[in-house]
Symmetry: C2
Subunit: 415 residues, 2 copies
């Protein structure tokens, strides 16, 4: 998190730099009138499809409300349409962004000093943050080109258990992951589910970018999960209105409570949520609900312009990298099927000092891959984000990147 | 929290019962068009008073945003207008309801097994919930008729320290508190601030009902705080749109961070918030911001209809109790200066069984005061909430309450 603060500070100090750092969704299609339209559409749905009176509609949006949220049925329907996931609406809890969903699950999992969680490395920094709030240690599992290295997973599980620890869950982003853009293939997903069953391990599937995962989209882990091994962590921050800050979780596991009575994990998490934030703003939920309704509950349909933009940008990035670095065997990058990010490997150390130099001397921002490793790792990698850029910025940015790489190459040669 | 679940369950099972249990704000003046108007007013303010471009306005409301929020300046101005509090906007952090503000402060305070917090007893159940999430023990301090018993506070501090513990803070609701309706007098407030300075104790001042504290409103602790001893916890759930779920904290204390560098407590809490929920929905904040702007930043002005309703209800309650119980020396109640609640003392045990009987046999709901005591206490007390009722419901409810009390009296006499 301190690293991220450094990045934010650098970004603030060099506002005119081209930024491959920000992983935010495009703002090109933002329209404030959409917020009003979504609100009206959702209240219309409450009146006509749910049969609520005017007083009940006002109460639903403006009063304190249900801890697990008011758009759980729409979310369950959306998951069926877009993800092939069959979710009982009662197993859905709406949260203050996906970040809160992570916190709630981790807070429930970390019950004692022996509990640890695993996370594919490199990974989303917010996961480490939520785990830190819960005093829950995170142990890395090598990600690699298939999204998770199952041999390393087996090793890490054995290691942890040999130390007397209880590995409670593995956190994964199977689709065009942050920070690498890597997707897990179908075979790996099935194998991972088998390992989870064998090892009695919960999988925490975070899926903020699935809508943008490309044409040959592979089913999510939750869609393949016949054994309730997967807690699904959902976000609308990239696919609806980010400013609503609405996320959710699907937790259909049966667990024993403190009172010994078995219940739905979603309901246990809901009790924790009542102590954390009471409930998620029904107004914010209504904006997302209206957005879902506007597109027949499909965020793929609702994001066709955004998808085209991200696809264009990704192609420009890949072509632009190829144009500038094809003759250099010491510079390489991966080719994600979709998403917001790709990983660039360079023949020199990538650290905060280089980032600062890049911002000052080249007017260029990016994210050191090391930020996404809990411990050591990613020393020669850069995360390049392309979700928020215009074509001309991509060209300029890659020119500056090429200049930085040339300069570093010379320095290495000078030594 | 289990007790509260029982209450919710009983409420759901007896939906036609008159309820003195729900402490929600009145819905009489809810208007969905206000939500749209508030949003438009806030965006107008961003354009004209803050000089933002259309693109910046869209970004401010619809994109990820500042962790500490976007209405901090309006909140600081509102605190000056309504509360006589001078707050640096940088010391304000906007949160997902006041509940999240509590969590963040408690999470920062509870750093080790020796840390404990104190809370005036009886108190708001949500405080105990937030403390539980932080694994932070809460020790009660007797509240009594002046809002806090300073002798008991001294005893509890000495006790805790003798046990090797570090009392980090005292949680108080100085104005027409939940659950008792008691307000702290000015002399007690000044004395409490002196104790806080002497004992090096932080005061966590929660003030959800201050706007409704009555004509002779006494300055808040934060308004009297010359020594940065008070963290102010703010809510808009009773004074603006509850469904926005927007709260805030004012934390102007200087603290040393993990890196040894001194910084504003609000900024440390902001780092925790970034790990918990990234930022509070700017759309929800905009609704509250627009509501503040609609009333010249005064929620007293913005709540004149609500204040009149709560005042009317309180008078009806006090008169109605007097009409029904004036001849009974074994039934008594306090006379709060404002707020949503009062405390009724009865000559029999008040527990879940009585609540269930009251709901089933009398069609009457209320809250056992014992719910608001961490350990034992409140066995003969009932919290009566009157914020959401119509005059005829108050009359009917008090008739049913009188029948319940008569019946219990007979049972006691029969034994």
């Amino acid at each position: 998190m301190n690293a991220m603060n450094f990045l934010n500070e650098i970004s603030a100090r060099y506002p005119r730099a081209v930024s491959f750092a920000a992983g935010r969704p495009t703002e090109d299609f933002f329209d404030l009138e959409d917020v009003h339209r979504h609100l009206r559409r959702f209240t219309g749905y409450l009146r006509t499809e749910r049969g609520l009176s005017e007083q009940e509609v006002r109460r639903t949006l403006m009063q304190y409300g249900r801890t697990k949220g008011i758009i759980h049925e729409l979310i369950a329907a959306h998951l069926a349409v877009d993800e092939g996931i069959t979710a009982d609406p009662d197993s859905v809890a709406v949260t203050n962004g996906c970040q809160e969903a992570m916190y709630l699950v981790l807070r429930a999992l970390g019950r004692g000093p022996r509990d640890v969680v695993l996370a594919v490395s490199p990974t989303y920094v917010g996961f480490a943050g939520a785990a830190r709030l819960c005093d829950l240690p995170v142990r890395p599992v090598h990600g690699g080109p298939r999204g998770v290295d199952l041999d390393d997973l087996a090793r890490r599980l054995a290691e942890a258990r040999a130390e007397g620890l209880r590995p409670r869950a593995l956190y994964v982003i199977p689709d065009v992951a942050n920070p690498t853009g890597v997707s897990m293939d179908l075979e790996t997903r099935r194998a991972l589910l088998a390992v989870a069953a064998e090892e009695d391990l919960l999988l925490l599937e975070d899926n903020p970018y699935g809508v943008f995962a490309g044409a040959g989209r592979i089913p999510s882990l939750k869609a393949l999960d016949t054994d309730r091994r997967v807690v699904y962590l959902g976000s609308f921050a990239k696919t609806s209105v980010p400013g609503a800050r609405v996320g959710y979780l699907v937790a259909d596991q049966t667990v024993a409570g403190a009172d010994g009575v078995a219940g739905l994990l979603a309901d246990r998490l809901s009790v924790l949520k009542s102590m954390l934030s009471v409930n998620t703003s029904p107004l914010a939920q209504a904006v997302v609900g209206g957005c879902l309704l506007a597109h027949g509950l499909s965020l793929r349909a609702g994001n066709h312009r955004e998808t085209a933009l991200y696809d264009r940008n990704r192609r420009l990035m890949l072509q632009g990298l190829s144009d500038r670095f094809a003759d250099r065997s010491d510079v390489s990058w991966n080719s994600p099927a979709g998403g917001f990010f790709l990983a660039l490997t360079v023949p020199f150390d990538v650290d905060d000092a280089l980032l600062e130099h890049s911002a000052r001397a080249h007017g260029l921002l990016w994210t050191p891959m090391s930020y996404f490793y809990g411990g050591a790792g990613g020393r020669h990698q850069i995360r390049l984000s392309f979700s928020g850029l215009r074509p001309e910025e991509i060209g300029t940015g890659l020119d500056r990147l090429a200049a930085l790489v040339r300069e570093r190459g010379r320095r290495a040669a000078d030594r």
